[in-house]
């Protein structure tokens, strides 16, 4: 794995040493908060039955840290991640990113936010089956650029996508379709895709949930490396205690409420 691409993942920006590390639980410095949620509620309706998923959740994730959200199935952890990622809108409550409220932005701005600032990784990888690994990695930049815009910078973008694939360890498989890749390879491709537009935060929804322990460990190592080497802020949903323990901070959800916030020493 190449490590020569120290500025590969994110744009050079002023990154301070995370100051919240080691502080007692519940006490978070406001300057280092990258994304936060206040009193989020979300109820899904299936027919006439109302299913409350989130019942007033407060959440804070600090810059440059790996935050895990842990909980059982149905605890609302994926919903929380979706609300943080503006994929869905809360019934009430607010989501802030870098001090700006994002949950009530116009649709166009939310699309832009997801494209430019956010990287997303899913349990089932969600690669587009018609596209090769390289094209899948390119997709966010294809979405972000118009056709002419893209053609003016396509060489740069393609080489960046190839470098990213190389960095996640797939330099030799860039022209393969998803159905020719293994689960671990697909998830690595998905990580490369999430990093394509140099996001400031990575949201991972059970990234190892569909992989065997060994492969899952490799993915986890990759995310950790990203967090440590590139100071990438990562929020990861999981139901695996051991994975959660390896994070900087762990938020435990149960039945739509935050049960416990645990800060581990860095």
């Amino acid at each position: 794995m190449k490590t020569d691409s120290s500025n590969l993942v994110s744009k050079p920006r002023v990154v301070g040493k995370p100051s919240g590390v080691g502080k007692p639980s519940g006490v978070v410095s406001q300057e280092t908060v990258l994304i936060s949620a206040k009193n989020l509620t979300k109820t899904y309706r299936t027919g006439k039955v109302e299913v409350p998923v989130l019942k007033g959740v407060d959440f804070v994730a600090e810059q440059n840290r790996l935050t895990a959200i842990i909980g059982q199935s149905g605890s609302g952890k994926s919903t929380l991640l979706h609300l943080l990622g503006t994929l869905d809108q809360p019934d009430s409550g607010e989501v802030y990113f870098d001090g700006r409220r994002i949950d009530n932005l116009a649709r166009r701005h939310r699309d832009q936010f997801r494209n430019q600032t956010l990287g997303m990784i899913f349990q089932f990888y969600h690669l587009l089956p018609e596209l090769s690994a390289l094209e899948n990695v390119l997709t966010p930049s294809l979405i972000g650029h118009g056709i002419l815009q893209y053609y003016s910078v396509r060489k740069k973008l393609r080489s960046r996508a190839a470098e990213l694939l190389d960095w996640v360890g797939l330099g030799h498989r860039i022209h393969h379709r998803p159905n020719e890749l293994s689960g671990g390879e697909m998830q690595r491709t998905a990580i490369a895709r999430a990093l394509m537009n140099e996001p400031r935060i990575l949201l991972a929804d059970e990234p190892t949930g569909n992989l065997d322990p060994e492969t899952g460990h490799g993915i986890l190592e990759l995310l950790k490396k990203l967090n440590q080497q590139q100071q990438m802020t990562i929020i990861m949903v999981t139901h695996d205690e051991t994975i959660a323990r390896s994070a900087d901070c762990c938020v435990r959800l149960q039945s739509g409420r935050v049960q416990q916030v645990h800060q581990y020493a860095a």
Binding site: Q112, F113, H126, L128, T139, P140, L142, I147
Partner: protein, 526 residues
Amino acid sequence: MYRWLLCWRYLRTRWIALASVVSVTLGVATLVIVNSVMDGFSAEMQQKMHGILSDIIIEGHSAGGIPNPEWYESEIRQALGDEVVGVTTVVHVPAMGSFQFRGQTITRQINIIGIDTETYAEVSDFRRFLLHPENQRLLSFQLHETGYGEGRDDFPESGWGHRRRWAVIQKAIEQERQLREAYEAKLRQSNSPGLPSLRSDVAALANAPPSIGAQATAGPSIGAPVGNNQLFDAEKEQHAGIVLGIGICSVRGTKPDGTLTDYFYVRPGDDIQVGLLSASSPPRILSEKFTIVDLYESKMSEYDSTFAFVPIEKLQQMRGMIDPSTGLKSVSSIQIKLRENADLDAARDILQSKFPSDMMIQVSTWKDLQGPLLAAVKMETTILNILLFLIIAVAGFGILATFFMIVVEKTRDIGVLKSLGAPSSGVASIFLGYGLLLGAVGSGVGTIGGLLFVNYINEIADLLEVITGGEVFDPKIYYFERIPTIVDPMSIVMVMLGAILIAVMASVLPALRAARLRPVESLRYE
């Protein structure tokens, strides 16, 4: 950018969607074929009609016709100037034509048209439909020795040779008749009392029974009295010439081996009795014999089965259309040929204002005269176009259904794209673009297929005849031997655009559905 990439990939990887545009392809191909054939059909028909009719026709409605056509002609030339290429006068009158065939009389309703050979050729192409090559150059109304129907295998021997043989037989029949009459007269005399001395004469006649063969070989020297002209010799003379439409004197049938053939009742060299109305008031029925000098085949069955051309002077003289005191002649219609691409309607309007209808004169273009037929063809084309576009619209619903399925199948991908920041409009445009591409592919293939079909349509018709054993394109019914086609690029472009538009419209609903999908719902995998 991603939209086009995905459209293109979907097009290349989803064969089921291509299957849904097969009906678009077929519809477009059918439209191309139908339009080409209909265009070819009507162009061919117009060309044929126009070949016989001149550009503008001035018809007089009174039985006596238009008097003093020379005055009209100078007026027309003055009014239209250089536009006029030729002017001719024509007398036409409905008539009965009857001829003998195997001892039976066949009567046909015909239109006798008196033409001036030279000027009529200037306004009408009718000469190229004549059978004798010399008549195609200059119609003389004189019977030729031979040479009729060159290149036609089954055309019977015609001309003077045929006429001489025919005349001999006619004479023999006439002699037989005379002898028989004389014999019967003598019999009556011998039976009557007071004339017994004739008995021996009768016996003498009975000893020399008349024989057609003997009389026929006896030579043509005996003049056969025909009509009121006692000196007419059918072997050497002809009546006034007449050119008959081929349909008047023949029937088309199929030989035992299946090939088409014409059976001729009469042919050039034979005589035809024509009965027509005089121009006088009240009209009288005139009857006169004409000699068929040529046949006329335009392949327009309407013309071929009714038109008969005779010299105009003959007809004017017969019908009493020449003023005995002044010598001025009258005609039924004046036909005008204008230079190519002249505005017929404008010319017609000028002449209409010059010769108002209260002069019992009607000015029309050839298209006006054939209006109903042309309109019928046009209407058929329009209705066929509407019907075929309905077929493509049905195909549109096929695309709609297929696209809905693809949207359902692609729900997750749509969610992914949205989670990566693709706007709803972008997702919608993937499917609209997909519809556009499918429509373009479908109609493109359809157009190419249709054009190929049109190009080889006659070969395909022949092949179908071989396979099915039935006649696909029966030249007996149609005006042409081969299926005529004309490819109009404009109409093909319109058809293609229409088909693509239908495909795009069919993809609107699925595209909207895709755009409305909420990313969270499409990504949920529990």
